[in-house]
Amino acid sequence: MFESLLNALPVALQFGSLISLFVGTLIGILIGALPGLNPVMAIALMLPLTYGFDPIIALGLVAGIYNGSMYGGAIPAILLNIPGTPAAIATTFDGYPMTRKGEGGLALKTACWSSAIGGIVSALALMTLAPMLAKVTLAFGPAEYFWVAVFGLVSIAVLVGKDVSKGMLSALLGVIIGLVGIDTISGEERFTFDSLYLSGGFELLIVLIGLYAVPPVLEMAEKRNESYFDSDSFRAKPSGGSLGLLRRHWRTWSRSSLIGVAVGILPGAGGNLAALLSYNEAKRKAPDPESFGSGNPVGVAAAESGNSADNAAAMIPSLTLGIPGNLVAALVLGALMIHGLQPGPQLFTRSPDVVFGFMWQMLLTAMLLLLLGGMVATRLFAQVLRMPSALLVPTTLVLMAVGVYTVNGNVTDLYVMLAFGLAGYLLNRLGFPLAPVVLGVLLGPMAEQNFRLTMLIAQNDWTVLFSRPISLGIIALLAVVLLSQLWKALRQRRQSQYQGS
């Protein structure tokens, strides 16, 4: 295998392949930075154009768009609190507060390096661990997926914000929003109130833009007409330059990249879960967890390396087993089939140059991010911060409108976005964290589907949820998170009692 990997390097370094990597990464950053456009849409639009190309050039474009968009999603997340892609939700937690503090430049640079490191680790994992790790994922059944979803949901509800009951209520509200629409298993309409619009359920991106992007725009509008951000925002550079950044974040990057790779291998889990779990873990391990959410660069580093580490790893089950881990992986399989290649274990022996060349391309695009990400993001997109708030408000609202409208071509989506925006504004003001709401919308259906599937397979025998070793391992992790929070709360109460007396 190692020989095949080395033989594929010159293929990935061909002129045509390099050009496709460069163009793909640029398109990816741009697509990721525009809310409403996502890598799936961009790759789907690009694939028909690559029919006449060599497979390695088509896959180079895919690799560039995929890795580029993961970093691109961080740009509006940091500058405007709008997650460009769902995977950039966790980046808003500390990225946007950093911009408000005048550290937008530092946040973008941290995000760029973190995305690149996460992408590199993920590509290396794809190259080395692919066949071995794919076997482990075969052991994951619906019960395990149910527990993974519950773990993601409960841990974010408990760890984000100061009040556990408010975090849990936010998460449960998200789950209820996710329940709206036709039930995919029984076909029954739930919470639709006989509305045709609601029967399709709420589009994640619309909920996301509404909850996350509208409230800060409304807050911006409430301020007097002045630059909303500190004009020195882009002068904030990491102390010690890039080397300082490396020294400061290597632990977070290593941990988050490993989480991202592990999540990426699980089909269906996705970069958003990887980012949120990485963020939670970074917060749990930090000596100053209370600084998370108010502009801690470690939060940005964890979220970005986590979501980018998911990218190449998500290709492991698709390339080795032919099971796509996410929509992009499904499109990669489509791209291979368009070019007459059959995904699965035989792909490694029949077309090693293409499959290993693609792995090299994932690695090269992750590296390209350092060059293109820094250049495009900090020097071009960041100019947006110099606009006065009276102009930034309407232009951001138009950007959101176009992003939301292009999802379904339906004007009702715009009203729905605004309604979610108002709800987000109110929840924010009442002290309810918004991240668990989004995670509830995202993981609620995943938890429900797998729970019902487990019950169906086990003929309503509940013990199956607690009998498999992997499930027990995830339950143990969940218990650790809950007990650590309980211990923290008890310690704080004891300290306040001690200070009071």
Binding site: I185, R190, A221, P394, L397, G431
Partner: protein, 159 residues
């Protein structure tokens, strides 16, 4: 904030109870999660209501004590900082969404940016015109020329 916790707790309790009530009418296993989630929501709203009630009572006691000693107490921060600007932004957005399919995307967006910028206090015509034109041109180049995404057609181009 005390009344806010109390009222938000009650609101969540109502949502939870309604979810359980509606969930009971769903077919077999489609009801599992709605009932479970509604029950949990009701359960988690109770500590919030309890805390809210406790702090409301505590504040009332403090306010009574302050009134008897002629002291002033701190009011809770407003839910909306600047209701005027807030409603102008919301109102303009609603009008924008309503006229978008009739007038067309690029024309409505250009008018929306100009109007809202003026209403929010921008008074430099050249800056408004420059940014509006530049932004709309960029959107047109990207969505119409490169990505070819269908957006509401301009009224003067519709046949």
């Amino acid at each position: 904030m005390n009344y806010r916790d109390l009222f938000s707790g009650i609101a969540f309790l109502i949502i939870g109870v309604s979810t359980v009530w509606m969930g009971k009418g769903f077919f077999a296993d489609a009801a599992y999660v709605p009932i479970g989630v509604g029950t949990l929501m009701g359960a988690f709203s109770l500590p919030l209501i309890w805390r809210g009630m406790k702090s409301v009572l505590a504040v009332r006691t403090t306010t009574d004590a302050a009134a008897s000693s002629h002291m002033t107490t701190q009011p809770a921060p407003a839910l909306v900082d600047h209701p005027g600007r807030f409603s102008v932004t919301l109102g303009c957005s609603l009008v924008y969404y309503a006229t978008l399919p009739i007038v067309g995307f690029y024309t409505t967006s250009a008018l929306f940016i100009t109007l809202l910028a003026v209403l929010l206090g921008e008074r430099r015509p050249a800056v408004i015109a420059g940014i509006t034109l530049g932004f709309i041109t960029l959107l047109y180049a990207l969505f119409a020329v490169v990505l070819k995404r269908p957006l509401p057609v301009e009224f003067f181009l519709a046949s």
